[in-house]
Symmetry: C2
DNA sequence: AATTTTACTTGCATATTGCAAGACAAATAT
DNA sequence: ATATTTGTCTTGCAATATGCAAGTAAAATT
């Protein structure tokens, strides 16, 4: 009904601030982490992650991420109850942000579990790592033709 | 009084999740942005940024960031009412995260205003840019001897 | 036809954020 | 010396966001 109150106000024109308006909440980057580093694609799979996101929050975050064109959704061809969520190119471009967060925590807290496979490559040449992983993500996520540019 | 309820629960051991437990709120990374890219160091200066952070939120975020050893505070030697906030090495290490957020938004929304000086250097060789900026930040922030290791 | 699975929605409790005002010590002005 | 201003926060309360439990509805499975 009240369809016009959903506009989230932009706090400033600063790029960092605007980025955080899109993904600077408690959950969005965790959803993106799963789409980047696991093969979880459906609602139920995303809900099953270790952090136990509440179902209503997952729903609202997915809508917001889709609205911001960071992810898109398509019906699962093998089960029409399901939707599958994929990263757009814009979403894939957040890979360095998620990766830098991971390595920051990994460096400063030994308890943190990170993708150890990446750690070596990251330390050696992170830009090459990003390029390679981006290539892989594009294979996995951008196969839906005209849905994404 | 109730001093023991302040523990924020860790949602999981995932490095990304733990990083977001520290800086994944609506404001922390904006405060860090100011400490990284401007010479704002006092409470009042940080409050004066474009996003107009509420004074109580600024206070609680500064306490949390200090507790997590991302920033530290010292009394201003020229005005004993003032405290000055500085980045620790751990805080400086978040530079790539903030920078990647900035360039991501900058790439995907032309309205976003970014440090244009950095954009060129970033595109050319971001790792060198990080190294150089880290060096500069250490000059500006780690001059307080034994306060930080 | 009945049951189960999947993707949500709804209602309500709790936590976080936002806004305005106030407190208090130190600096400055008179 | 006294009064005013400045700077760093606190406090109270409203608005929003999150967390939890239960419920709905359609498609798949039995």
């Amino acid at each position: 009904m009240e369809e016009n109150c959903n506009e989230k106000m932009r706090r400033s024109d600063c790029a960092v601030s605007m980025a955080l308006d899109s993904v600077g909440d408690r959950w969005s980057l965790l959803i993106l982490r799963d789409l980047m580093f696991t093969d979880k694609r459906s609602y139920g799979e995303l809900q099953s992650s270790a952090e136990k996101i509440a179902t209503n929050i997952l729903a609202t975050r997915l809508v917001a991420l889709e609205k911001n064109q960071i992810i898109y959704k398509t019906p699962d061809p093998t089960d029409s109850r399901r939707s599958l969520y994929y990263l757009t190119e814009k979403g894939i471009d957040l890979l360095p942000v998620v990766t830098e967060l991971m390595h920051w925590m990994s460096k400063h807290n030994p308890d943190a579990s990170a993708c150890t496979a990446n750690t070596t490559a990251y330390k050696k040449d992170r830009v090459s790592l990003y390029k390679e992983m981006t290539k892989q993500l594009k294979k996995a996520h951008l196969q839906h033709g005209d849905l994404v540019k």
